[in-house]
Amino acid sequence: MWQKLWRKGDQQKDEDKEVVEEIEGEETCNPYTELYFLQHHSDIVRHLLVIDDRRCVSAGDDGVVVVWDTQLCMKLSFFEAHSRPITCMLSIDGKNKDSNLLITGSSDKHIKVWNIDQGKCVQDITEHGTSVKCLLPVLENMFVSAGEQLHLWGEDGALLDTFPLDKQEADISLLISTNLKNERFVTACDKELTVYSIKDLLDLNETSYRICQDKRLPEHLEAVRALVPVSDKLFASGSLDGTILLWSSETFTPLKKLNTMADYKGKANMYPYSVQYIACENQKYLLAAIGCGFALFDTVSNTLLCRKVKAHYSKVTQLTFVCDGLLLATCSEDGSIRLWGQKSHNPGEQLAVKASMGLSPIERFLDINFGQLHHSKSPDHFPEPVLLGECLGHCGSVMRIVDQGLEGMFSCGGDHLVIAWKNSELQKMKRNQVIQEKVLNPSVIV
């Protein structure tokens, strides 16, 4: 698998002029010096969800959900949830707000609700009828499931409404809500975006909810691959052809088109500029995984702040800021996670300065504060991010990465593994603490 990817990477490298950066020698800026292989899954792990600062959940094609302790790096519990791959996960607060509920949707047509703390299945919803593709929390304690059908579910798992989808081949793959009250949401179905809203109809005694279709939006050129809310007034969608469209959440009209490509199909329909993932920062900056690279856009000034066209040998699957924005982590199908940042001559000193200023991740990453950012108009101002570290551990494509702050970073991938990337010094301190508190002082039972 790895070698295939490697060769593929090599081929791509030959084809393109631009060379993928490599890192040699010691990586002083890479804080992830200890890794833990969390094994349980027996198939591709596609989803990783942070529950709280101690726990995260992984789910994959083997239909198993595993709850991990992120501090000790151990398995807490696992649910053999579905007989088919799990396609979506959603974490919501329970009724009493004291328990965490996890909703999983699978292509086995089931939606299951789990109590993570107790480790048991609370509900098994079978009325969805078709393969579940995505889940979205709406209003208060309700959620929408979508796939070939669109359903609205109550907190207790009761079916509140079903929206009849007209088209036969309709298969909703993405869902986002576009306003704070979560009453309006956008679905992406192939190239098409549709806006729906949930209306509450007050009958005599009880309230019933209905899904209403509000508007169909102009189509993308190719299938929509990413859909993200930016702010109350804005959401963005990215598609296979590389286009990122900014939409108004009020009028639902396209406001801006970013990153348009002329020859978007590329050689052998590879779609080299396809948008795989978009993340939003500070309600105005868009981090987009485009092809084998990534780009950072400002939605206010509609400018490209910085980009790296060739960041990986293969398509970037996800990207996120780690270490409070000091680094940008990108993961890719080539099996690596790469860390990007600004080259600095004196990392220690700079770090102290950055820490003292209370900056946001984006400011730290670009090494500039917002005031300066607004005044500088030229995109050339920001240099290309530099490769500062590479986390190699997966031997298949890396599907997801999540940042856990001081607990490091977690990634999952096609090699059935979840890997915890941690800092060895912090871990050493933690072990010292554990030894002191638990091992040597057994009277304190934790």
Partner: protein
């Protein structure tokens, strides 16, 4: 119960025969003419032969029996034949005459075992005797007394290891007795069936005869029937008693399993004989024609049920038995193997292990038992390779006074808690350990080698009562170092020194002259010491007691001498002086540490120390024998150090000389158990793996001389980085050798046997590298190296390409492994190098010990939480660690090694903690360090 008069008649003949022919024939040779021939001189059983003839030179185990027919006799010995010129029969008589059955109870009852020690000080024969009784239906009172004795010329073994021997003996006898009880029960059951059958037959016959026969005949029948009834009742009673005692289901299962296995594995007729090594012997001892009786008869006719320990009684065909009120004593009684069946096999196996373990020299046993204390508590011990415990962080440490964090208001009176745990150890020992790294003298690790060649961690974690114990022991006329080996060792060292001095010229003439006098002094000293040993008697105890004072005197002189020498040295030794001045003379406990301090500082001073050592030796010589036992270790070490120093500084290349030295230094039988790490008998099973597995570390000398940059690979192992040795198929042997040799550095060898793979066809997955630390991988010929090793592996593991002789790994820049590397060419024998490696490991571990106790579990190890960024916290911790490491004299790459060793133990502790908590079903994963901060390079080797 026993007829003690009996053996008086038979024994002299037996003894005589035994003495005459024991060397020619192992068994008995019933030459009737000889047997019947009267002898004018009848040897008295209590009178020994002249001392020279019955000299016991080796330990052996004797199983003796009080035979009904022959009186006390030997059943078997381990090893075969026992001691060459030791009168076993005589001894059998002695031990069996200690009749242990004092009960006066009537009827059948179970007999308790008893254990006694038996000594013959005059001939220096000492025995540990375990008396027990086996049950035999054909024996008088159903009982046959046996005794297993461990016979040794070294009484200290029995004193020191009484508990162990006693325990092990009990285990052996447990097997024998339980096996015997099962056999006895079966035999009784069958006999009972026979009796019932006979009774039935008899009744039938009586009824049919009733009409025709006379009254007298009827009387006989009636009498017979009554006897039969009595027999039945008796047998039933005995059976009942026996059945009540058969409660050890575990053993029963074990025997059953063995029998199953035997049935499957050997479809041979004698299902039993394959397992019994003594079978041939025993069969030769007994005349086959004697075999008779219902038990044997049934066994011969029906092999499957006859020998089985778990027969199915349904298929037993009862037969009539001859009715007699009395007993027959002329029939042959069963052998031990028949009496105990599977119990015999198991018991004898255990007994052989017991022998293998305890036959070794007292010093080895003692060193091992000392070493063994470091294995406890298990998770805090740091192992290297197969048989080296680097250090145990928590041995003898009071957990309550570890670290400031443990400061609990509710622990009253423990004010010393306020200090970090380092205070709970002897600070001086730690200090001496600090010092040994500060110097650049290559000799520093030598101090850790004990007299037996195995490294012993002796820096202050001994329990306080350890030292007094040994001292007391030595008072009891038990001189630990009186062994021939030790004397030989010392004298040879002296010879060695002589040779060296005659050879070398670089020393100044004055020094040289002084050295000569020293050597002479030492020589004299050793000679007198040796003589003293030979003539030593209880008188010396008094001297020893006087010696108590003398020891402290001598220590004073040593320390002052040291002080002077340090003053002579220019600077940087002020703190050293402080330590030497701090020495508390009254404390016996510090004695051992002082030894170490002494040797360590001696090494620091280097060549200068040589003179001082000379003075020291003079001192020792003048004090003479008095403190010798206490001081011998120092003497031995200092002499050793000198000789080492000599040889190293002069670069002596004479291979023969070194070999001679080693051969003399380490006697063969003395050395091999150490190498094979013979553990306690109970562990012996685990220690005998498949034969093709070579001893851990075998070939290290070859590998280290062959590959120049191997130290970088060793460094990788010692920082927990997996090492992948890649070779093309034709290099399989070489790759395996490398893996096997480098195993000696693995810290996870004991905990996890999957920590290495000598040779595999495909590259293991990366996630396995958390456990796998050493892998030999086959690279197909056509596949280029760069394609074969993916970049993730290359980044996280050290890769050693044997074909191209290239290593891709982090570069080692430090002291310890460079030292090892530099020394390799000086060694021609692997044992010496292995010892050096172990001692270096112990030295490094001692640093890890300090690091753990004064850093990790103190407040510094937890870190401040006021930094926001991961990087900030990380770098502040790094700074603290490197500051601390600098303080204890560890620099560069060595710091990484020590950190890793410490982390290993911490992980073990945490893992153990989680394992012992029943509520947690899952374990924390083991981490894999990426060593991003280390720069990897491609190196030729």
């Amino acid at each position: 119960m026993m007829d003690l008069n009996m053996f008086g008649a038979d024994l002299p003949y037996n003894m005589y025969i035994q003495e005459e022919e024991s060397k020619v024939n192992d068994g008995w040779n019933f030459d009737l003419e000889d047997y019947l021939a009267p002898h004018s001189q009848v040897p008295h059983p209590w009178n020994r032969q002249p001392a020279g003839e019955t000299h016991l030179d080796v330990d052996f185990i004797l199983v003796a029996e009080f035979s009904e027919l022959e009186g006390p006799r030997e059943v078997l010995t381990i090893p075969k034949g026992g001691s060459s010129n030791f009168n076993i029969t005589d001894f059998s008589v002695r031990i069996m005459s200690l009749d242990h059955q004092t009960t006066t109870k009537q009827g059948f009852h179970l007999i308790e075992d008893s254990q006694v020690t038996f000594s013959e000080i005059k001939d220096s024969v000492f025995a540990f005797v375990h008396h027990f009784a086996l049950y035999d239906r054909h024996a008088r009172g159903y009982v046959r007394p046996f005794a297993i004795s461990y016979i040794t010329p070294d009484s200290r073994k029995l004193l020191q290891f009484y508990e162990e021997i006693s325990q092990q003996m009990k285990k052996v006898v447990r097997y024998l007795k339980y096996g015997n009880k099962l056999v006895f029960k079966n035999s009784l059951e069958m006999h009972l069936m026979d009796l019932h059958y006979t009774k039935a037959e008899m009744l039938l016959r009586m009824r049919s005869r009733k009409s025709s026969h006379q009254v007298s005949d009827e009387d006989v029948c009636y009498k017979n029937l009554r006897t039969l009834e009595a027999n039945i009742t008796e047998t039933q009673n005995v059976l009942h008693t026996i059945k009540l005692s058969l409660v050890d289901k575990k053993l029963e299962h074990r025997f059953a399993r063995l029998e199953e296995k035997a049935k499957i594995e050997t479809p041979r007729v004698k299902s039993d004989s394959w397992s019994l090594q003594e079978w041939e012997e025993i069969e030769a001892t007994y005349s086959v024609s004697n075999v008779s009786g219902s038990y044997d008869g049934s066994s011969l006719s029906d092999n499957t049920t006859g020998w089985t320990l778990f027969p199915d009684t349904r298929y037993y065909r009862p037969k009539t038995v001859k009715i007699s009120s009395g007993r027959q004593f002329d029939i042959h009684l069963q052998g031990l193997h028949e009496l105990c069946s599977w119990g015999h096999r198991e018991g004898m196996q255990k007994l052989r292990h017991l022998y293998q373990f305890f036959k070794r020299d007292m010093a080895v046993l003692q060193v091992e038992s000392n070493d063994k204390t470091f294995m406890d508590p298990g998770p805090s011990a740091l192992y290297f390779g197969e048989d080296c415990i680097g250090v145990n962080l928590l041995t003898g440490v009071d957990k309550k006074c570890m670290g400031c964090h443990c400061l609990q208001a509710d622990i009253p009176g423990l004010l010393f808690n306020k200090c970090s745990s380092i205070e709970s150890l002897s600070f001086k020992s730690a200090a001496s350990s600090f010092r040994s790294v500060n110097d650049d003298d290559a000799e520093s690790m030598k101090s850790a080698i004990s007299a037996t060649g195995s490294p012993v961690v002796n820096f202050g974690l001994y329990n306080e009562n350890d030292v007094p114990n040994t001292f007391e022991l030595e008072k009891d006329n038990i001189d630990l170092y009186s062994n021939n080996e030790f004397i030989r060792h010392l004298t040879f060292k002296i010879q060695q020194l002589d040779i060296d001095i005659s050879k070398d010229e670089p020393m100044g003439p004055i020094e040289n002259a002084e050295d000569r006098t020293t050597i002479d002094n030492v020589k004299k000293f050793v000679e007198s010491f040796g003589d003293g040993n030979k003539e030593r008697s209880l008188d010396d105890v008094e001297k020893l007691e006087e010696g108590n004072g003398a020891i402290s005197e001598m220590v004073v002189s040593t320390s002052t001498l040291l002080g002077e020498d340090f003053e002579e040295r220019s600077s940087g030794t002020s703190d050293h002086e402080d330590f030497t001045c701090e020495c508390d003379l009254s404390d016996v406990e510090t004695e051992g540490m002082r030894d170490r301090l002494h040797t360590l500082t001696a090494e620091n001073v280097g060549q200068l120390e040589y003179e001082k050592e000379a003075k020291n030796e003079k001192e020792a010589g003048s004090i003479k024998i008095a403190p010798e036992t206490e001081k011998t270790s120092v003497l031995a070490q200092s002499i050793k150090n000198e000789s080492m120093l000599e040889r190293d500084s002069e670069g002596m290349t004479s291979y023969d000389l070194i070999r001679l030295n080693i051969e003399n230094l380490i006697p063969v039988d003395f050395d091999s158990p150490e190498q094979e790490s013979t553990r306690f008998p109970s562990n012996a099973d685990n220690d005998s793996p498949d034969a093709d597995n070579l001893a851990c570390g075998f070939g290290i000398l070859h590998i280290m001389t062959k590959y120049a940059s191997i130290k970088h690979v060793i460094y990788s192992i010692l920082i927990g980085r997996s090492v992948i040795v890649v070779g093309t198929p034709d290099l399989e042997g070489e790759v395996k050798n490398i893996v096997n040799a480098l195993k000696i550095f693995l810290t996870s060898y004991h905990r996890n046997h999957r920590s290495f793979i000598p040779w595999t066809k495909c590259l293991p997955s990366l996630y396995k590298m958390t456990d796998l630390k050493l892998v030999g991988v086959c690279r197909p010929e056509r596949k280029p190296f760069d394609r074969f090793i993916p970049s993730a592996i290359k980044k996280l593991c050290t890769v050693f390409d044997v074909k191209r002789r290239e290593i891709f790994c982090p570069v080692y820049q430090g002291y310890y492994l460079s030292l090892l590397d530099n020394r390799v060419r000086n060694y021609k024998m692997e044992e010496m190098l292995t010892t050096l490696i172990k001692s270096i490991m112990v030295e490094i571990s001692s640093k890890a010990f300090i690091y753990f106790h004064s850093f990790c579990i103190g407040p510094a190890g937890v870190g401040r939480q006021d930094y926001k960024f991961l990087q900030q916290q990380s770098s502040s911790f790094q700074r603290r660690v490197s500051n601390f490491m600098a303080k204890i004299g560890v620099h560069d790459s060595d710091a990484h090694i020590i950190e890793f060793l410490c982390e290993t133990i911490k992980q073990q502790l945490i893992q153990d903690h989680f394992q012992t908590r029943a509520s947690v079903s899952h374990m924390p994963e083991r981490p894999l360090a990426t060593h991003n901060d280390l720069c990897c390079q491609m190196m030729k080797c």
